[in-house]
Symmetry: C2
Subunit: 292 residues, 2 copies
């Protein structure tokens, strides 16, 4: 793990993902200035040697690198552009890194506003869930100028393992949209396959094991397939989050005049899961919509 | 690799998969008695020290173990039950192994007819394609009695690497149906994701690489994703075969009163590919239906 000894890093958004990421940055020696909308989460981490700020603006005023890990596109927009937001406090030469899953078009627009202040913007969404955040093994897909991504690299190496610079600003979010399309649809595929096995009177656990050796092998079959076999759906990644990500991917496609029929169907299946009360379950609970 | 030195093994069906499988059995020392509907393929292998038979019946009369690797369920039925078929020549105590992808209901029925002759039946379909057949690294999913599967095991170990005894007769075909559902749907997922990236102006090759580190990682993203990025669609597994396998999986589901909405959609997308003349291409050519 690279050392971040003595570096001041701002971190906004202390949810399921943000908290373990902060802990890993702290372990690497960074001085963390943290902010979260609900104060209780700030206080808990303050006891572990991190320094609370009272607004995103204060985070920006006190650091040169600001990481955001908030829930959705409107939240990112607010954190950046509100009167007490990051942009209001941003120093020239600072670096803003959005590690959440944000709409591509919004990322590009926000990057423009950050640059007006003489600062730089990277989108760097992640895959790997809470487990990956805790184990510092997140896949990180980044978009931005070479010089900005290089500057963020030591910090990325503290948080993750598979770090790819995909392209310009927004390219990280495009890769994340592609990621969520594949994850959602592969969960749907495994759900239909294991249900077919179960209804045919064959042990889904044995089928899952048999399939791991062939072309059906995937991380989803391994991780989410096991959750389906055991029927344990603690998130992980929540169904409502997966649904939001699919909706963003479909918005992006629509803007390009591109039809994604399987993605559209998959989102409808997630709608059914959410309507039946499963929104807070892990996204692998999609099998409950198939195996009825 | 276990030795099959001096064992007589019958092999029916010398297509893209059957030929390399025969060669691997021969390399392990087996005496092969071979049959194929079109004679040219028999003659080519006869030059490599395998012994031709003039009918499936003759194959059964000259061996105690008969492997079938033919194209579809009607072909298996014909090879087994025709007047000059395997069953007509079957010795008591013989073992019949169907390694093709056959309908579950048909497998169970054919097993019954084989048993009437005092012989045993295993369904043992494979995943891994021509590459897996050549490298002797096929995943093999078997269904049948313990004693029959144990008897076939040395031979399976010559042909493949991930060998699972899933359950009773038909269970191997259930696992294969599940496999094909996952493969077809994951190909569809990767096709939509990489097209979304391309249309967004982001390099699909970089997105594919970025995604291999996270939850979107799969054998399909690795193997078929690369074919999509390069636009090279030599099979591999043909689109028409994938379509046939999806249709069989949907028939199985329908018989159980089970709806598989994503599988049904995926089959329709394969129909479109076939209608546009892509049936003989690799199944990864499904991206041509999305990226239009």
């Amino acid at each position: 793990m690279p050392s971040l000894q003595g570096q001041d890093i701002g971190f906004i958004g202390l949810g399921l993902m943000g908290r373990p990421m902060c802990k890993n940055l702290r372990l690497a020696g960074a001085n963390l200035v943290i902010y979260n909308r609900s104060r209780a989460k700030v206080d808990a981490l303050a006891k572990q040697g991190m320094s609370p700020a009272s607004s995103p603006r204060e985070v920006a005023e006190r650091t040169d690198t600001v990481i955001m890990m908030v829930s959705d596109t409107p939240a990112v927009e607010k954190v950046l552009t509100a009167p007490d937001g990051v942009i209001a406090g941003l120093k020239p030469g600072a670096l803003v890194i959005d590690m959440g899953t944000t709409a591509v078009q919004a990322s590009r627009k926000l990057a423009g506003e950050v640059r007006k202040k003489g600062a730089e913007f990277i989108d760097a969404p992640v895959s790997g869930g809470v487990v990956g955040a805790e184990a510092a093994s997140l896949a990180i897909m980044s978009g931005g100028l070479d010089i900005a991504v290089e500057r963020a690299m030591p910090l990325f190496k503290v948080l993750g393992k598979n770090i790819t610079h995909v392209g310009d600003v927004g390219a990280g979010q495009v890769a994340k949209a592609a990621n969520q399309v594949i994850v959602g649809l592969t969960i749907g595929a495994v759900a239909e396959a294991l249900t077919l096995a179960k209804r045919s009177g064959v042990d889904p656990a044995k089928v899952r094991k048999a399939l791991q050796g062939g072309f059906a092998a995937s991380r989803v079959l391994e991780v989410h397939g096991e959750r389906m076999v055991k029927g344990t759906f603690e998130p992980g990644g929540k169904a409502i989050t997966q649904r939001k990500d699919l909706s963003q991917a479909l918005d992006l496609a629509q803007g390009l005049g591109l039809e994604l029929p399987a993605t559209a169907l998959n989102m409808k299946l997630y709608d059914r899961l959410i309507e039946s009360g499963g929104g807070e379950l892990d996204h692998s609970a999609l099998i409950n919509v198939i195996d009825t």
